[in-house]
Symmetry: C3
Subunit: 273 residues, 3 copies
Amino acid sequence: MLGECLDNVRGQVPLIHCITNYVTVNDVANVLLACGGSPIMADDAAEVAEITSLAAGLTINIGTLNERTIASMRIAGETSNKLGHATVLDPVGAGATKLRTKTATELVKRVRFDVIRGNISEVKTLASGSGSTKGVDAAAADAVGEGDVEATAAFAKALAGQTGAIIAVTGAIDFVADAERCFVIRNGRAEMGKITGTGCQLSAMTCAFVAANPDAKLEAAAAAVACMGLAGEIGWERMLPGDGNSTYRNRIIDAIFNMDAETLEKGARYDVL
Amino acid sequence: MLGECLDNVRGQVPLIHCITNYVTVNDVANVLLACGGSPIMADDAAEVAEITSLAAGLTINIGTLNERTIASMRIAGETSNKLGHATVLDPVGAGATKLRTKTATELVKRVRFDVIRGNISEVKTLASGSGSTKGVDAAAADAVGEGDVEATAAFAKALAGQTGAIIAVTGAIDFVADAERCFVIRNGRAEMGKITGTGCQLSAMTCAFVAANPDAKLEAAAAAVACMGLAGEIGWERMLPGDGNSTYRNRIIDAIFNMDAETLEKGARYDVL
Amino acid sequence: MLGECLDNVRGQVPLIHCITNYVTVNDVANVLLACGGSPIMADDAAEVAEITSLAAGLTINIGTLNERTIASMRIAGETSNKLGHATVLDPVGAGATKLRTKTATELVKRVRFDVIRGNISEVKTLASGSGSTKGVDAAAADAVGEGDVEATAAFAKALAGQTGAIIAVTGAIDFVADAERCFVIRNGRAEMGKITGTGCQLSAMTCAFVAANPDAKLEAAAAAVACMGLAGEIGWERMLPGDGNSTYRNRIIDAIFNMDAETLEKGARYDVL
């Protein structure tokens, strides 16, 4: 099932409009190409509605937001909703500053997202309206361990019910939930946290998966999350002595490029709660 | 002859001012260094005239244009013309939105470009004033196959005659034309389309080649196009099992870094129509 | 001693707020992760004070400055000073345009920097108020050879005395000086100049080192400079036939990722004048 979601991306080559931060944007574009999608980045208010209209999906990532691009996010989000396109939010750093918390919460009010993907601190901030994100990483106090799985799955489901969005909380253990079911995914490696932008990449890839699988959005989002984690595992196996985080970044994108349905199907490790 | 163009870049180390998109800007800078040029990126209206004056060439790439940078593009383009510097336009996504089409066509009216490089849909948009670019990729209906070579060469020559610019239409087959001659170049690999930014990189590299070869601009532009395609072939030969588009990106820039005149001369495959 | 500085970075994981150019920002983020720090990029005036407050250090890099971000640099710099956080300036291209020279000199007047790191032309521009930087590289006339070591060390010490900042002048030979002592460091390779952004990376890494070593700032800055140079040497040893500047970029960041205190301690080559 997850493998089929990947095949649909490769078959349909969804064009994904990204309004995203300038830190990780190149990797985001290459990951979209690697998974079978096609990227287009555009953030000017004068053209985002047209770009969104051309695309099959929209990812909004607030990683380096500013007044100019926040306006564009709103326009693009509303256009995407009007057209029924796949729409994903990555609330980078929500909880770290008032601007990020406000922007993310207002976007959630104004735009109907298919998926909201963030770390646990960012997602908790969206749920409660305030938070304690440490920069762009989750706060230590929020860390999700094996003992927190049921509570976190319940939290994700509840927020999904409340927002209408699939909630993807990623970290050492990943949770992908709608109001009724939660995929608890155990792929990935801790070393992925030593690369900038794996979260941003995942959000854009999730948008491509959801765009190509409109009738199975939850499975599609779970497939994207498992695909990224599994790529982290496969990429790590190819690391040589002396390799570090920069090479690992390449290896992960390479692994997504080479991922096939069977590998994803067999390699994905998850429960559904 | 193409090899000599490369040697001139390495000998002169032309400084190339790039007003370019934030998606592929890092690769653009590294490609300029790889081919023997030197990059400088600057996009603020308050300084672009000075930066252009310091540089040997200017590349304008509208990939993530906005109101602020469009103003800078105009100023820089006019300054570059005044000083007789090499000036290149990459009309990324012209045809996809009104803003891009308008910006590109106005730039072509206002600035005398030595080279305009784009995919077939972007260049057709410039020729006709409207287009059907699918995001930043050429529309399928525009695809140039072997049966379209003569017509495309004639189209490129005609547009070159009309604009005064060398027209470089790149894709599966590449066309580099002035009003009288068209290089039809058959280097490169389809997999290059799975990397973001090979077009942006090529535009900036073309600017370096033209800046270093002012008396042979057509040959210089053709040399840059052949160099990129050949690097795509050489880079591909070095790919190992498990490598994907992220590693391929590195391999192509590496191949340009290691390109010498003899390799380029022998590896370039082209006809002149 | 230098090795201990690295261990302190890895032990404390300082969060470094970067207001930096969009050309090299991804490498800057990955280098911060590689050395043991944590990056956060944010440049909007509405949130930079909060981001700076969360962070342990601030790096201001003017590589692609504009009116909007210059305002943010001022706010962040003043906030960082108020909180006593590590504060670093990379005056990219100072001397190349009036905007850069003015911005850099005004920042130095307004903000108390712990370290100012640039090439010799940029630093001379700050010292004299005008300069002859060739784009973002040092002017040939400014090149520092073995015959200029004593004079350059004296210049760096004098400027350190005048500004209160540690002055790091990097190039073929690196100088890291406070008013009384100057580390003259001879690590690194000329080929590092063929990669975009090693200077930007070093500035951010220096900020992480200084933030984690508040009682030994000069040694910390010297450790960062030696670490980057040594990584350039280690990375080069891993280069294979056909590799070029793009792979070299990865290898250097990888070498920083794998650097340990003992390797740095043994590999650093320096005198103190």
